[in-house]
Subunit: 102 residues, 3 copies
């Protein structure tokens, strides 16, 4: 099952996380505060951001990714997929039941 | 080697993390504060939680997972396994030495 | 593409993160505060640390890993590689452009 790693400005991150769950694209989203250092237009910049870890299913991954692109203020949002090699069955079942055609 | 991703209520997370290391189920656990939004019984809820990232070995993974189920207050705890594709040798060796039949 | 998971003492973590981006070893680094519990010399200890998540490329991974070993105050730094199974194309392209022979 995929965990989708997203970074976003701290002020919009809660709204993105909530929308993904409300629209049944993710069963849950863990949001963590972070500081990011990155290269942009040749300069090294630092921003206060949030990391979102969205728990979804194979079937809903593409729709989740596309929805984040819609919601995200950046032209080039960080959206990455990591797949678990094992998951507690009960949690996996709950996850599958919590997403799906809303 | 597996990193085990666990979420837990903030008040019990330190105890779970410490028990895993004391019982040689994990070599170390990184604990990060997070806010979680999730769907439960048809409602979208938000909780303050912690993410635990437990560093263990192939041999100790199943015992760690089962111990977390024992310790965790939720019926359906988030317990997921992610495997690294590379690890600094010295850290990998220390990790293997730090877990094992206590 | 690799995300490199590093833990470091909170006071040196920002400098390590910035150096990796300035030296074009990582396109960006997300830094998160964490508390770590771990076993060292037979004792269970707790420290305030930071998790660094460095976004790089296959080609730059080994150089990044070796540079972290140089910069890190610990003899046995936690340096682990996780590979994404998918990444937003635009973010992947930016990432590749941002690292490389400085």
């Amino acid at each position: 099952m995929p965990t989708v790693y997203i970074t976003a400005p701290r002020d919009v991150a809660p709204e993105i996380a909530r929308t993904l769950v409300e629209e049944r694209l993710a069963a849950c989203v863990n949001r963590l505060a972070c500081d990011s250092v990155y290269r942009w237009d040749g300069e090294v910049l630092t921003d206060e951001e949030a990391v979102l870890l969205a728990k979804t299913t194979d079937e809903r991954y593409a729709a989740l990714r596309d929805r984040v692109v819609d919601l995200h203020p950046s032209e080039v949002p960080c959206i990455e997929r990591f797949d678990e090699s094992d998951i507690l069955d009960a949690f996996g079942n709950w996850r599958a039941e919590s997403v799906g055609e809303g």
